[in-house]
């Protein structure tokens, strides 16, 4: 990074752009000056800097593929695609924008709040840019489509996320401000993680042979979670302590034990049903839009 930004010294050759093997200093100075200027004028310096910053922020597992995607998206940004033929139709442009926005949104995990917020802003700008036949601003239809795509690509079952989408979607003609956009996308990503956790939890509860769980056990766990989520009158720290004591291993063990001892076994609970009921607990706490 420092090599990209370093200003050329008065006499010595610049550190970044010349080979260390150059012999003649004066020739190196003259050539390097024009090289660096050329790169800066074309905008490559700034672009590379932004690309490296993005890599540092996202820390991808495959940096090369990541950079390839990044530059591909950069290329789509310019309205004229290399001057080939007529510009793409409105629908295609919309899909491209959506794809790009989704790519931005996936760069950082939602828990990396600062990076995530940055990416949300970029995605919002990308979607709200005015076009030839498009007013600036994000309309409800695009926003809802984006949320659906996020949930679909996150491999959450349709029935599980449908109630959330109903809560946070916007109508087609409504204009979505940035804060609503940010809240909606964050909620979707958090729900995806929640569903993943619920899936892992179900794996702990299920009978490996039958791939279903004892209904009493599943219900007891869901009931305990629901109890811990009940809004109590106490202020925040006391509420957390209380939830922690309810959800601790000892307390849970007792609850499970009581559940199994109390009732006779009934119809088993499937994974889908468990996920749906768990997600319902989450979605109940989401504030609807507007």
């Amino acid at each position: 990074m420092a090599a990209v930004e370093k200003r050329r010294q008065a006499v010595a050759p610049p550190a970044g752009f010349t080979d260390s093997g150059r012999q003649s200093v004066s020739r190196a100075v003259g050539a390097a000056e024009s090289e660096e200027d050329f790169l800066r004028q074309v905008g490559v310096t700034e672009m590379l800097r932004a690309a490296l910053l993005k890599v540092l922020e996202a820390r991808p597992e495959e940096p090369i593929a990541f950079l390839a995607h990044y530059f591909e998206n950069m290329g789509l940004r310019s309205p004229v695609n290399g001057g080939a033929g007529e510009p793409p139709g409105q629908l295609l442009l919309q899909q491209q924008r959506l794809g790009r926005a989704l790519w931005h949104l996936r760069l950082a995990h939602h828990s990396q709040r600062a990076a995530f917020n940055n990416n949300v802003s970029v995605a919002y700008e990308c979607l709200s840019a005015g076009g030839r036949r498009k007013r600036p601003g994000l309309d409800g239809r695009t926003y809802s489509e984006l949320l659906r795509r996020i949930c679909r690509d996150g491999q959450a079952p349709e029935e599980v996320v449908a109630p959330l989408l109903r809560k946070v979607q916007c109508r087609d003609h409504e204009a979505v401000p940035l804060s609503v956009f940010r809240a909606g996308t964050l909620t979707c990503f958090v729900l995806l993680e929640f569903v993943a956790r619920a899936g892992a939890l179900f794996q702990l509860l299920e009978d490996p042979a039958a791939a279903v769980a004892d209904r009493r056990v599943g219900q007891a766990v869901l009931d305990t979670l629901e109890g811990a989520l009940q809004a109590s009158d106490a202020a925040a720290p006391a509420r957390f302590l209380e939830a922690g004591s309810r959800l601790g291993p000892d307390s849970l063990a007792l609850a499970l034990d009581r559940a199994v001892g109390g009732r006779r076994p009934s119809a088993p609970m499937t994974r889908e049903e468990f996920l749906e009921r768990a997600a319902a607990l989450f979605i109940a706490k989401v504030k609807p839009v507007g």
């Binding site: 509860l205 291993p249 499970l256 199994v260 768990a278 989401v286």
Partner: protein
């Protein structure tokens, strides 16, 4: 425990001097503060703020009731460890005593460095009523028993792993519950919908 201030009357400081007050020009080095009480109430302690007093301070208590009244020294020579330095010069002091009816505070000038010396914010208090017990939440006053109950049933999942997953799910939900936006949705203007002619007919 709460304190109840006992009303008292603090008389002004009186300098103790040897000889005639007219002849000696210097300022005295010993002051006496006399504290009287309008009604005899047993009190528990005094607090005051020291102000450069005290090579020593004698607090004389006059214990009443059973024994004949006598004066007892409570505090002596401990307010300022080094009389010439600042240490302890402006501290708050608290003394506990029992069953006192009269009080003399005898102040001594600690050193010639400190020209004025006194005690401030003198307060006498007695034991107040005990504060009402805090109402603990139910779950705090009935803690879980320490020993892990033997699982009666087999085939139950590992509670610590279940607990870990459930706690994470709880945390995610709490985070979403806490975050909210108060922004309102806007509307795109639909061309012609605010046409005056149309509106007048609705």
């Amino acid at each position: 425990m709460s304190r109840v201030l006992v009303p008292c009357h603090v008389k002004g400081t009186v300098a103790l001097q040897v000889g005639d007050v007219w002849t000696s020009q210097g300022r005295p080095g010993v002051l006496v503060i006399d504290v009287t009480f309008p009604c005899v109430t047993p009190f528990e302690g005094i607090t005051f703020k020291n102000y450069y007093t005290a090579a020593g301070i004698r607090v004389c208590q006059h214990t009443s009731a059973h024994t004949p009244a006598k004066w007892v020294t409570c505090l002596w020579d401990c307010l300022m460890p080094d009389p010439h330095s600042e240490e302890g010069a402006q501290e708050y002091i608290l003394c506990d005593m029992a069953r006192i009816s009269e009080l003399h505070l005898i102040l001594q000038q600690p050193s010639p460095l400190w020209l004025s010396f006194t005690v401030e914010e003198l307060q006498i208090y007695q034991q107040g009523p005990k504060s009402p017990s805090m109402i603990f939440p139910k779950w705090l006053s009935h803690p879980m028993p320490c020993e892990q109950p033997a699982l009666l049933h087999e085939g139950l999942p590992d509670p610590s792993r279940v607990s870990s997953e459930v706690q994470q799910m709880w945390a995610l939900t709490e985070m979403i519950r806490a975050s909210h936006t108060s922004a309102r949705i806007g509307h795109f203007d639909v061309d012609g919908c605010y046409d005056l002619n149309l509106l007048s007919y609705t």
